[in-house]
Each structure stands twice: as C-alpha cells, then as structure tokens.
Amino acid sequence: MMPCTACGHSGEPNRLFFADFELAICAKCGFGVGLAQPTNESATMDGQPKIETPSTGDVELSPTGAFTAADLTEADATRNARGQAIVVTNDEETYDVIDAAFSDFAAIGCVFADKGTGAIEMVVSRLESTDRTGVLIDAQNDDYPASELGYAIRAIETGLGAKKADIVFFGEIDSETEADARRIGATIQNGSMSESLAEMLARSIADRMV
C-alpha cells in the first residue's frame, strides 16, 4: 500500500464501500488515498454507503472538516434530552403524529391537553420540577387562543417567580400571533400538521431540554 500523500502514514487505510466503487481513506488523517471497483462481497447490495471500522480499533476524527465532534455528539445529546412536553391541541389527528415524533426521545414525556385550562394546570403543577417544560400550542385552538394562552403562562410564571417554560406555537400562524410570540419569547413552527412538522417540533423542544 502506498503511503498517504498528505501525512505519510503507510498503514492499512479505512474503506468506504459504495454500490459501484470503494474509496480508501487514510486511517490517520482521512485523506482519500484510492478509488477502486469493489472486489469482494463486503460491498453493500442496497447502494447505501457502509463505513468499515479501522483495523486497529483506533478512531481518529478526520481533519478535513467533513465531520466535527459536534456532528458526532449532537444527535446523542438530543436523544438524552429530558423533560416534559405539554401539547395543547384539540385536533385528535395531531395526537398520534406528535406522539410518534416524541417516541425518539425516551426521556421526554409527552402529554396532551385539549383545553387551555388543562395546559395551565399542567404547567402550574410542574413549576417546582427541576426538569424543563415545553409547551407546544396549536395556533388553531379556539377555546383558549394560542397567544392568550402564551401570555397567561408567562403571567403565571412571573407571578409565582418560576422558571420559564419553552413555548412553541405551531400550525397556520398569522402575523399577529407571530408578533405575540416574539413578545413572550416563544418560537414558531409554521405549517399544517405533518410528520415532518411533528419531528421538527419534537427536535425543537428536545434541543432546549439537553
């Protein structure tokens, strides 16, 4: 094997197997040292790239900047997010989609309130908790309008001297609600409910609970 032209390392390179070729990269610095047609059955059959672990068992981050330490740790960190998400919606179809999105985050409890007062009860009962609380409010709620509920939650937190919950408005959001969201420090996930919006909501809350 030729020594790496970037760092001079002459050990066995790591190999990335793709459907039609394999890429050899220096095990020390990550520099590409060769490209070849796959010659053995270790090439993947489904066209998905497969990363072979270094033969030495040592893992060194590539200095090329293709990956950073944050790339490798963030996903795990978000998975370890801990807290309680209170979802305020009276749209039953939303329940399952959001519940499924939160299933990726084992340490985040997800509870639903179909009325604003139910959400307030849950928020007040969690004020003493050391875990973080996230409140996701459906902008289409009509029994307790989203922005009013946001203001009410902030008012209670101020009155009781409690830490602030993370508030997220979701759904079809008008400019007035957007302005209210800015005033109370809430975030917005605009759009009609879908799996991808639910995943964004779950990730948005999980990011704050790390």
């Binding site: 009860e121 007040v124 009013e148 509920l149 009410a152 008012a155 009155g159 001297g161």
Partner: protein
C-alpha cells in the same frame, strides 16, 4: 391587621375614583389596579403564592393580552392548583346579549359594564357592587 386586596383589571383608569370610597368602606382594603389581563393573572398569582388571595377581583370581559373570560378561568385554575381560597369575581360584561358564563366559575357575579365616558359614576357603581359582594362574603349584610 393584615391588608386584604381588591384586584381590578382596569383598562379605563377607574381605580383612582374608587380608592377613596373603598378606604371609607374598609381602611384595611387595598385596591390593586392593573392594565390588562396578563398583569391581572400575574398580580393574582403573586397574592395566591403569598397565601393572601384577593377578596374580590373585578374583571371586564374586554382586556388586552388575555381577555376577561380567559383571565377568569385562568385565575380559577391557578387557585385550584395551588390550593388557595377562590377569589370572588365581579365580571363586567360589555354586551347584554352574551351568555353569562360567570356562573360556571363559582363565586362569581356578572354585571353590565357602564359607560366609560362617565368614569366617576361607573367607579361608584363598582364600589357599590364590591361592597355588596364583601357583605355576602362576611355574611354581615350591607352596612
């Protein structure tokens, strides 16, 4: 003697006309006036946390940030969750046609809101309403 509070969401500035009359009614009463629904909830929560919930809370139905109806049900939720005594609510309805929801809240009475272009007159009307509610709370009848 510990001061007790009358909390009032007061977007029209009636409190300044009410304070002298309330002081005459009971010197231990203090009127706390706030401008909108959110501040009303905050003031109420502070008093509840201190275990001295307001004796009476006056809430007009039309308020900024959190309207009167939502503010009233929020006060009840906070009281229930914190386990404090319920404040008596005087709910000021702006339109006669609206259904009186205040009956569902418990310890609440709805009255029609008077004209705000006659603040002194409206203030005195509210003082009378507060006096009536206080007399019912103490069971002593009107003085």
């Amino acid at each position: 003697m510990t001061k007790r509070h009358i909390l009032m969401a007061d977007p029209h500035g009636l409190a300044e006309f009410m304070k002298p009359a309330l002081a005459k009614l009971n010197p231990n009463l203090e009127l706390l006036a706030v401008a909108d629904g959110a501040r009303c909830i905050t003031a109420h929560a502070k008093l509840c946390k201190a275990k001295i919930p307001p004796l009476v809370t006056v809430i007009p139905d039309e308020l900024d940030l959190v309207n009167g109806r939502q503010a009233a049900i929020t006060l009840r939720t906070v009281e229930r969750t914190l386990g404090v005594a319920a404040t008596a609510i005087i709910y000021l309805q702006s339109e006669a046609g609206d259904a009186d929801e205040s009956k569902q809240w418990g310890r609440a009475v709805a009255i029609m809101q008077g004209p705000v272009d006659q603040p002194k007159r409206e203030a005195m009307r509210l003082v009378k309403a507060i006096a009536k509610v206080l007399s019912q709370l103490t069971g002593r009848g009107r003085k």
